[in-house]
Each structure stands twice: as structure tokens, then as C-alpha cells.
């Protein structure tokens, strides 16, 4: 337990602490201490010290468990618990913390799992001892705060065990609760790097512990405090940046960082498309204006005829070659509606999905008229809780409406109407 607690009072390098925990095996079935021993024994060894001692320890415990008939029953139903506990793969300290302390069988289960003990003899045969790890490259990552550099800690990694057999993996994958094994050798190397990297892993670990403010590190005391100041500062800074990024992106994203980054990526792509589209439009407009001026200086009669033809940018070889096909696509989402606008040349396709509350078709149609879009095709209706519509339109000649304008206005109108409408019970008819 000591290891998973934030107390950090356990110093893996201190002999005395370890010795306290090793002493248990003769005792009657006390799952907590068992768990402790299993965990501590893994901590107990420096990465240099690797296989022998740890393996011996592990085996000792395993044998202990095997011999102890009273525990086999308990262990038999540990298996399902294992998966449950271990499914907190990326959980915080606290979550993981609470899990083992919830009840002793589960605690034992968690311990056993991390210790890599397989409850039943049948399963034992599947696994190669001592490489009995449910978490071959187990990444139980502890993060005190979202910003901290996560230490991926593999309880058994320092044993330098060979990669687990495929059978093992398949078995794991067939387990309920969908616990996933992040397995392969590359990962192992990565994890190892972190952990083995000249004490850095350990230092980071202890540093994180100290983040919780309960540092009892002796010689690292001064160093820890210094790290504390800059480390925390850095984290806060980074978090602020993520928040800033989030505010710049228009669509509502979840709070987690991955979504923020994903949203930012999509938004940047969208902005690039919009800029390109606008450039093309501006060029076309400029060409059109130039041509218009040129036409006016020509003969009036011929200008009237050429008025239809000449104004088409592609029709006149003497003018600017604006053959680039204007295309654009963007989406806007809000809480109750979703808009997707695609433009190719002068055809605009609009998809609208809106939670059914008001009759949005009228407002949308009005807006389309405003935007000078000629309706060619409309399809849609009521699907469950939502209205869903598809509009195929063409841009009237001379109008230079662009995608983001359409999308923004549309979602604006829809949302406003939605907000304005009184909350009525649906299907009142």
C-alpha cells in the first residue's frame, strides 16, 4: 500500500523500509501485507540489481500463495476483480489509490495483479514464470496533476523480463472489461528508457511524490524544492496555454488535452481552406471588375451582348486565367445544431442537423435567400429527436458569399431561434 499512496514515505533505496515489508510470508492470510510485499519487493530493487533478487522474491511469494490453500478460493475470484482494477489504466494517483483500499480482496487482487501472480494453476501453466505479469509493459501512469510529466511505472519492468508470449496477450484481450495491453517491445524500450534512464525515472517519481507536498526525501530535499517551484510553474503555464488554445477554437471541445489539440488541428485546416477560398474569390472579383471596366470603354452595343458572356471569368481568354476551382468545406457545431457547408465552384451543399424543437426550415430558407443562394434541391425531415436537412444550392451570379460566412450565419440563426423558442413539449400533436 505504501507505494501507491501519496505518502512517499517509502524510499526504495532505504533498506530499513523494505525490510519491514519483506517479513510477512509466514503470517496468516493478510492481503494487505501481501500486497505490500509484492509491491515493495518490486520497488525494492534497483534497476541494476534486476532479475535475480526480484525473481526470487516473486517466486517466494508465489509459492507462498500457491501453498496456502485457504487463499486459492479467494484468488479464484480475484480474476474478474483484477480486470476491473487494472482497467484504471491512466487513472490518477487518487483513483488508483482508492481502488486498492476499497476492500481487501480487491486490494489483494490489485497487488496480485501487479505482482503478476496468477491465481489458478491452470493459468500458471499458460504463463512463463517468473514472467508472470498481467501488465507486460504495464503502464500505470501516475499523474498528480494533468500537467506533470507522467511517470510510467512498470512494477516488474526492472526485472528485465523477456516479452511475454502471445498466448498471454490473447488471453488478456479476451478478458472482460476490455483491459487493453499496451504491449510490444518498442513500448518496453520506451518505458524502460524512462525508468532506467540513469535514475531519472526514479527521481521523477520521487519528485512527483513531492509534488503532493509530502516529501520526506533527505538528500534530495533542497533539490526537490527547487524543482517544485519551476516544475509546477511549468505545468501551470502549459495548462494555461492549452486553455488559451481551446478558447480560440470555435467548436465546443471536451476538456481533455487530446481533444483540444484535435480541435485545433481541424480548425487550422479549416482556416487554411477558408483563406484559400477567399483569395480565389477576391481574385475573381478583381478580374470581374477589371473586365467590367474594360467593357464599358468598348462599343455600347457589343457590350450589351458581351455582358452575358464576357463576365464569366473563364470565357474570355484575354483576361486573367482564373481557372482554379474554388472549393471549401467547413463544419460548425453548437450544442443543439450541426452545420456542414461544402462549396465547389458555385454550388453549395448545406447539411443541417438540429434538435427538434422549432420549425427551423422557415428561418433557414429565409437566410438562404438573403445569402443569394438559389435552391435547387431540398431533402429532409424528422428523424427521431432531430431535424435533418440537406440543401443543394447554387450561388447567384455575382455574389461572392463564402463558406464560413454561410456556416456562421446559419448556425447563428438556428441557435438564436432555438434559444428564443419557448420550451415546448415535443409531439404535442
Amino acid at each position: 500500500m505504501k507505494v501507491y499512496e501519496e505518502s512517499g514515505c517509502f524510499d526504495p533505496h532505504s533498506i530499513t523500509d523494505c525490510q519491514d515489508l519483506i517479513g510477512l510470508p509466514g503470517a496468516t492470510n493478510c492481503p494487505n501485507s501481501l500486497e505490500d510485499s509484492l509491491n515493495i519487493s518490486s520497488y525494492n530493487h534497483h534497476h541494476e540489481d534486476v532479475s535475480a533478487a526480484a525473481a526470487v522474491d516473486m517466486e517466494a511469494h508465489q509459492h507462498y500463495l500457491l501453498d496456502n490453500t485457504t487463499t486459492t478460493n479467494a484468488n479464484a475470484h480475484l480474476f474478474p476483480y483484477l480486470n476491473q482494477e487494472l482497467s484504471y489504466d491512466q487513472s490518477n494517483w487518487e483513483t488508483f489509490n482508492m481502488v486498492p483500499s476499497s476492500s481487501s480482496p480487491e486490494a489483494a487482487a490489485a497487488a496480485v495483479a501487479s505482482g503478476g501472480y496468477t491465481p489458478t494453476p491452470d493459468l500458471l501453466s499458460l504463463f512463463h514464470l517468473p514472467r508472470c505479469s498481467f501488465l507486460p509493459n504495464s503502464s500505470i501512469s501516475f499523474e498528480t496533476t494533468p500537467g506533470s510529466p507522467s511517470v510510467v511505472y512498470d512494477p516488474l519492468f526492472h526485472l528485465n523480463l523477456p516479452p511475454q508470449p502471445p498466448v498471454f496477450r490473447e488471453l488478456l484481450q479476451s478478458l472482460p472489461h476490455g483491459y487493453t495491453v499496451p504491449a510490444d517491445e518498442k513500448d518496453a524500450a520506451g518505458v524502460g528508457g524512462l525508468y532506467h534512464d540513469g535514475d531519472n525515472g526514479m527521481i521523477e517519481f520521487t519528485r512527483d511524490i513531492s509534488m503532493a507536498g509530502r516529501s520526506k526525501d533527505r538528500d534530495k530535499a533542497g533539490k526537490t524544492t527547487k524543482h517544485f517551484a519551476t516544475e509546477r510553474e511549468r505545468r501551470v503555464h502549459l495548462n494555461d496555454k492549452f486553455q488559451a488554445l481551446k478558447t480560440m477554437v470555435p467548436s465546443p471541445t471536451k476538456i481533455d488535452r487530446a481533444s483540444i489539440v484535435e480541435g485545433a488541428i481541424n480548425y487550422i485546416k479549416e482556416l487554411l481552406r477558408t483563406v484559400r477560398e477567399l483569395k480565389i474569390l477576391v481574385d475573381k472579383k478583381r478580374c470581374g471588375q477589371d473586365r467590367g471596366k474594360r467593357l464599358k470603354t468598348e462599343d455600347a452595343a457589343s457590350a450589351a451582348d458581351a455582358g452575358d458572356v464576357g463576365c464569366k471569368p473563364l470565357g474570355d481568354p484575354d483576361q486573367c486565367y482564373n481557372t482554379s476551382l474554388r472549393s471549401s468545406w467547413l463544419q460548425r457545431k453548437s450544442k443543439d445544431s450541426e452545420v456542414d457547408v461544402r462549396i465547389i465552384d458555385d454550388e453549395v451543399t448545406i447539411k443541417l442537423v438540429q434538435r427538434k424543437k422549432i420549425n427551423c426550415l422557415l428561418f433557414v430558407s429565409r437566410l438562404l435567400d438573403e445569402l443569394q443562394l438559389d435552391l435547387h434541391h431540398v431533402a429532409g425531415g424528422n428523424i427521431g429527436d432531430y431535424y435533418s436537412f440537406l440543401f443543394n444550392t447554387k450561388i447567384y451570379e455575382g455574389s461572392s458569399v463564402y463558406a464560413s460566412a454561410i456556416a456562421n450565419k446559419l448556425i447563428d440563426v438556428v441557435d438564436r431561434q432555438y434559444a428564443a423558442a419557448p420550451p415546448t413539449s415535443s409531439n404535442s400533436l
Binding site: L245, L278, H376
Partner: protein, 152 residues
């Protein structure tokens, strides 16, 4: 390139792109304001009616009562700018809710078929609705553009 700098760069880049797109759209608006729009829309209006006549598409309004409060509507009319909006307004005014709606345009004509949910539908209602739509189409036929004046 660590995380912090990547995020910083992203923020800067987004700002830059936003500014560029704003500038461009402003420029576009200015150009639009200063340029003249040709009278092309007028021509297309007249063309539409001709095309329709050529193809033999007749104007039509059909309103049927199906399944209790539902109305099935089929309207074929000359396509004008804003006519769809007018039709929708009318239906809203009558208190109908839209079920499935489909609009197709072809050769200057427009076909609207829609399933409407009404609050209180009987045969009289059906007839009235039909007459109303016929009236609307006739009034729209004359004008070259359906202004959104809300009159029915």
C-alpha cells in the same frame, strides 16, 4: 520542439490565419459594395416560365389527408427566387409542422412534396389548404421575384 512551444506556435498560427481571413473577407465586402451587379436575375425569371411551358410541366397543387392529422402536399410551380420561403411561411402560418420535405427543381419549375402534421385536420381543412396554395402560386406567377412581404 517541446510541448509548450508547439502550443505557442499553434496559437500564433491560428491568430495569423484568422487575421488573414478577416482581412480578405473585408476586402471582398468592399469590392462587392463598389461593384455593380448585372441584371441577370431578371432574365432567368422569364426563362424559367418559358422552359416550363416548353417541357409541358403544368402547375399543380394536391393536398391529401393521410393517417389522421397528416397531410401530404404536392406542389408544382414556377420557380422564382424566394418562392420556397413563401410556401414555408404559409405552412407555418397554418400551423403545420414539417415531416419529410423534398424539393426538386427542373427546368425552371419546382416540385415540392411534403408531409405535414396538422393540429386539427378534416376534409374542410384539406380543401381550404389546397385553395390557399393555388391562390399563392397564382399571385407569385405574376411577379418576377417573390418579395418577402408576408402577404398571403
Amino acid at each position: 520542439m517541446n510541448k509548450a512551444t508547439i502550443i505557442d506556435d499553434a496559437i500564433t498560427y491560428i491568430r495569423e490565419l484568422q487575421k488573414t481571413s478577416e482581412d480578405l473577407s473585408e476586402e471582398l465586402h468592399e469590392m462587392e459594395a463598389s461593384s455593380e451587379d448585372g441584371g441577370k436575375q431578371m432574365e432567368t425569371g422569364a426563362d424559367a416560365a418559358d422552359e416550363m411551358r416548353e417541357c409541358g410541366i403544368k402547375e399543380e397543387v394536391k393536398v391529401t389527408n393521410i393517417d389522421g392529422n397528416k397531410l401530404l402536399i404536392k406542389i408544382v410551380m414556377e420557380k422564382k427566387r424566394g418562392c420556397f420561403t413563401k410556401l414555408i411561411e404559409a405552412m407555418n402560418f397554418l400551423g403545420f409542422e414539417f415531416g419529410e420535405t423534398n424539393v426538386t427543381t427542373f427546368k425552371g419549375s419546382m416540385l415540392l412534396s411534403s408531409c405535414l402534421l396538422g393540429k386539427f385536420v378534416d376534409t374542410l381543412m384539406v380543401e381550404q389548404t389546397e385553395e390557399l396554395f393555388i391562390e399563392m402560386i397564382r399571385s407569385m406567377k405574376g411577379s418576377s421575384e417573390c418579395a418577402n412581404n408576408g402577404s398571403l
